[in-house]
Symmetry: D2
Subunit: 132 residues, 4 copies
């Protein structure tokens, strides 16, 4: 799956990993590298947004094929708790709808080892028709 | 639970019902009455918004007590499929965070008897300090 | 314009009016009728959602033609202040994007005569290709 | 104003600038540096999210004082057009509500020199009471 991620999203190599990918659920991991951190050592809001965004992208591409196009059109994200310093953040992503024109995903984000989510997000990807 | 609902939300009497209310999940029901319907017989978007809103309100009040105050501050809702005409709509509501100042809830909406959700919503309620 | 509104949205006759409709701005009005009110006399959240939704619909239809199809796919709404009791609520709606597949609108809601907005919303309409 | 930005948000030094800051409007700038870019040379979604987030933060802090606390609780963002490659992105941020507990801001994002916005966002910051 690391190969898949590198192919569809080469620019994030080393930043994210895939723990699980099947029909029901995608679990992705944001490695708690230093450059995503705020001074206090916590994973930043933009880094959590990136994790939610890439999760929805990967979950969508895994279903429609990696030759397809998918562009984020909307994201609403709630930040609910401070992530645990130094811990990876895990994203549980579910595809709620995969239509011809739109994909809608739900994402819950957790600091590894914690039961209460640090954030939740919903994302819509537009799926333009393939060229040619 | 009908008594509880009538007390906390008297103006919606006859519009909504509670199927389940416990620590893990609240399930509420929008009765497919005629006045919520569009010409085609489908439950309208505003009616689904109302169901999501009242679900998050009830789930929050059930935890903080019915004397407390709770005011909707934000809702993001995705409409994904057309509801089945003439069917009640069910809301599955989970409280993701209950803090001192804010409550954050996730809601999935289904036409009764269908596996694929018709809509999803997230809502934030502000919890002002009690007066006096 | 009342004729236009009745044609594209017959089920809301008597609930909404159009104050202005041109290239730059649509201004719609929610009449402060009793049935939209909560016990305290304030316009309800679902009524404000309805006003935002119908505004985005009318602004979109005015550009693409009333034979076209448009379906709400997403709305995010912030409730910021309590509306003034007994006052109409006005919506200022701007079309930010009108693409082939999606329309994106921004809406500010005001109690008539007040400078500070009571709510804001953004809505996305999906524009399915016409049949036949 | 560069001094102000460095003080309230030291970790983004060199990434953002402030073009205008007054009662009505904040205009911030995301420098089109290479590391925010996708392979095609376009500013990435997460970089636009960061710009919207920091704009709302700066607009809020400019009003409540830089000793105060402000934490992002919600952001809804619509991506509408592809940014122009190599151009800075400008954010126009307005504070719609500044209450005791919450700040609500609206942000429009533009590629410099373009009239049509590339994205829009609304953000809510929670304003916890100061300690001590």
């Amino acid at each position: 799956m690391a190969v898949f991620l590198d192919e569809v999203f080469p620019q994030v190599r080393g930043m994210f990993g895939i723990d699980r990918l099947d029909e029901e659920l995608l679990v992705m991991r944001l490695f708690a590298h230093e450059r995503h951190l705020r001074p206090g050592g916590t994973v930043s809001g933009p880094a959590m947004f990136s994790l939610a965004d890439v999760s929805a992208y990967v979950a969508t591409m895994a279903r429609i094929g990696r030759e397809a196009l998918a562009v984020t059109t909307n994201c609403s994200i709630d930040f609910m708790r401070k992530p645990v310093a130094g811990q990876d953040v895990l994203a549980e992503c579910r595809v709620l709808k995969l239509g011809r024109a739109l994909s809608v995903c739900d994402v819950l984000l957790f600091s590894e080892g914690q039961a209460a989510p640090v954030a939740r997000a919903n994302l819509t990807y537009s799926l333009p028709p393939a060229k040619g």
